[in-house]
Subunit: 257 residues, 4 copies
Amino acid sequence: MSKIIDLNSDIGESFGAYKIGLDKEVLKYVSSANIACGWHAGDPMVMRDTVRSAYNSNVGIGAHPGFLDVMGFGRRNMTVSPDEMKQYTIYQLGALYGFVKAAGAQMQHVKPHGAMYNMAAKDSKLAQAIIEGIWEVDSSLIVLGSCGSELVRAAKEKGLKAANEVFADRAYNVDGTLVSRSLPGAMILDTNIAISRVIRMVNEGKVTAINGEDINIKVDSICVHGDNPEAVDFVRLIKEELSRAKVEIKPLSKFIK
Amino acid sequence: MSKIIDLNSDIGESFGAYKIGLDKEVLKYVSSANIACGWHAGDPMVMRDTVRSAYNSNVGIGAHPGFLDVMGFGRRNMTVSPDEMKQYTIYQLGALYGFVKAAGAQMQHVKPHGAMYNMAAKDSKLAQAIIEGIWEVDSSLIVLGSCGSELVRAAKEKGLKAANEVFADRAYNVDGTLVSRSLPGAMILDTNIAISRVIRMVNEGKVTAINGEDINIKVDSICVHGDNPEAVDFVRLIKEELSRAKVEIKPLSKFIK
Amino acid sequence: MSKIIDLNSDIGESFGAYKIGLDKEVLKYVSSANIACGWHAGDPMVMRDTVRSAYNSNVGIGAHPGFLDVMGFGRRNMTVSPDEMKQYTIYQLGALYGFVKAAGAQMQHVKPHGAMYNMAAKDSKLAQAIIEGIWEVDSSLIVLGSCGSELVRAAKEKGLKAANEVFADRAYNVDGTLVSRSLPGAMILDTNIAISRVIRMVNEGKVTAINGEDINIKVDSICVHGDNPEAVDFVRLIKEELSRAKVEIKPLSKFIK
Amino acid sequence: MSKIIDLNSDIGESFGAYKIGLDKEVLKYVSSANIACGWHAGDPMVMRDTVRSAYNSNVGIGAHPGFLDVMGFGRRNMTVSPDEMKQYTIYQLGALYGFVKAAGAQMQHVKPHGAMYNMAAKDSKLAQAIIEGIWEVDSSLIVLGSCGSELVRAAKEKGLKAANEVFADRAYNVDGTLVSRSLPGAMILDTNIAISRVIRMVNEGKVTAINGEDINIKVDSICVHGDNPEAVDFVRLIKEELSRAKVEIKPLSKFIK
């Protein structure tokens, strides 16, 4: 029987006169999209367009809430309380829901952005706060978080569906966490190696950690990027190679229970 | 048979460390609340608290979207396109919906704030744009606009329920529009006069315009304020006098069809 | 004796993760730069870099204040009071001064951006307000405004040095104002025509208005753009043609008294 | 010979429609004012008014830069780089300079606000970054920081004048740092005790730490608050008691070398 995997990408990150991301290109290949909700990127016009494009491409629509920090693109940690984290999640989920309803579409999942994602991966209280926010808005949503994160743990504890994502271009520590970008070897630069690692993660549930040891890894979705033509080429390639390896690519909602 | 009227007030306009409005006091008297959605006022913590307070007070919950201009409190006209106006409405309605769902409450109505309200009162294209935004998010919402405004007209044309509001403390022109605040006599400063005008508007559907002529006026809701203790006293008083005049005060959802 | 002209361009309009404008390219050709001050575009890192680049390129440094509206890129009119306009000017001039001082450079001029520019071109009170703001911060600054604008008039009245700019790619009405972009013929699309018009404006002080009549026009600076490679090519070309026509290109400070 | 001390307070923290702080009252008693620069609080109208009021009250004018976080009032740590910290300082110093120049006044000092203050107290790289920013804008400014902080250390190292502030209402650890607000005994609630502690700090250079031990403390300025009438009463009282104890109150510029 064939394996199933989701490909996800952050899109809808343009803002006013500022355009970034090859959203239309990347939507041809991914099965789920994380759509910025106006706080770190994405204005209402962009959100409307992006929700529509994802819907028309049969791509699963996800909210991608971040910190209110356009200048820092939501990538800077901020010392917020769990209650703030929860309400910021609710606000942004709701805002994206407006466009999802206007498009006659469905929201599939939530994946926090940048610093919110990183903080919620490690801090159980912040993770729980985000999960409570999602739960109170729509308990049928799928939470997309990094494999082994506090966010995924908190989602399951609460009874929300959760999906584990991996990064094709990142090295892993032996405990399953990502090797910090500041360390040598953190990025997998060779496309072929990246792809074969991903296929092994999908098919065998294993990856070689940075110390050379094989570790178990659970993968439901692969995070890819659409920042530039090379990134989009990589997405196309990974999709082709997955197909060749008899791995089906489907939105999270089709296989996460 | 007794008349029915709604009393509405803008609340939830605090922001971070900045507190304004005697929301708890005013919620004792009004039947509908227009809750700021984070763009001109109201942060997510404030929105959560305000939705809860209104819900616990059995006050009808309304979205109060405004321009993204905290510095100007959403009171400054901005030359936005109809499409921008529509998407800004959808974003803010959605955001408030998040908190309404989290509270297990219902959204009753929408009333644009400040410059958005004023522009939509006169400009039919902007009015239609707001109405389309509301329609696409939830076609069961009631639109609260000034009596005779393009917004109310557009709501009815689209098939949305609409309610006409009047201002107890403002003079009217003979065409039913408000006398500009910059003109003498624009404000009704005498509380007793203001109250007897309101009661006559409710009971007879008439008000004396600034030129002394009686005009017809349709009133479903009276807009009151909670900015300071005197304003709240006036709300209490107007409620008492309406009761004495056998006018029932109910949220819009109870009587607007 | 040869004529002298300034070439000016808006630069420093990137913001956080968002990059726009071929600033380094355009700095090779222009003699004055209008640098965004953080309100409509340009964050502090961008401002630092841009001031330095302009300084190192011997390009005259100008403040380019706009409305606090990153989402609208400062292009949307806002109904601000003259006093607000004045203080917004002072704030942004001051902010840019910080970077000018840090770079050991000098500020040469001020040119309002977008909606602020357009509003100040027509509204004498807003124009005077901006001029007062500039005057109070540094009365030696040159004001760069559109030829025949209220801004230039107000600058002269106050005693500030003023420079008139023209647009190479825009048609003029017979009264010297720009033909609205919404009208046919507003844009001069043929590069050769644009350049010969500019050279005639510089050499003869005349331009053919849209109705075919020749009008007098006073030009101290030509506004050019660096948004894309074609725009930069045009800047290079106009510079070459001006040189060929024995027109010297110098920063405003070298010839505006 | 009499001792000299400065009394400083944060003012100018209103924003648009939001008014906070009894600035006019507190300006009667303090000798130096830390004026918000628009990022965490204070809009250009407020900055103009506040600079003028301080100037007219012969109170030393200081810049009070903070993080771009009105919603969090600049109180939330953000993971910014030293270079960002430096440029954010330059931007805000410059902006306040605009109003200082417009008022014909002088800037006396800089005191970072909230999270920026706390982070720069402990992190030497961020402290150095702020100091470089100040140095590049105006090397004659006095840096006001907490006694024993990295900020004060970095200022001295760079050659900037520095002043040590203490808090009348806070307990100290034996190493001279403030007892965290989350611990019991962190706040000195008894006004008389607070005042006698301050007078001893000024006169003897000593304070009793929370463990009962006497420690040396260097004090140039006492930080006081004007948030509410009780706070202002305390400022008035501390000023009276200092006078009675023959301590002179003067702006930093009069005695910091």
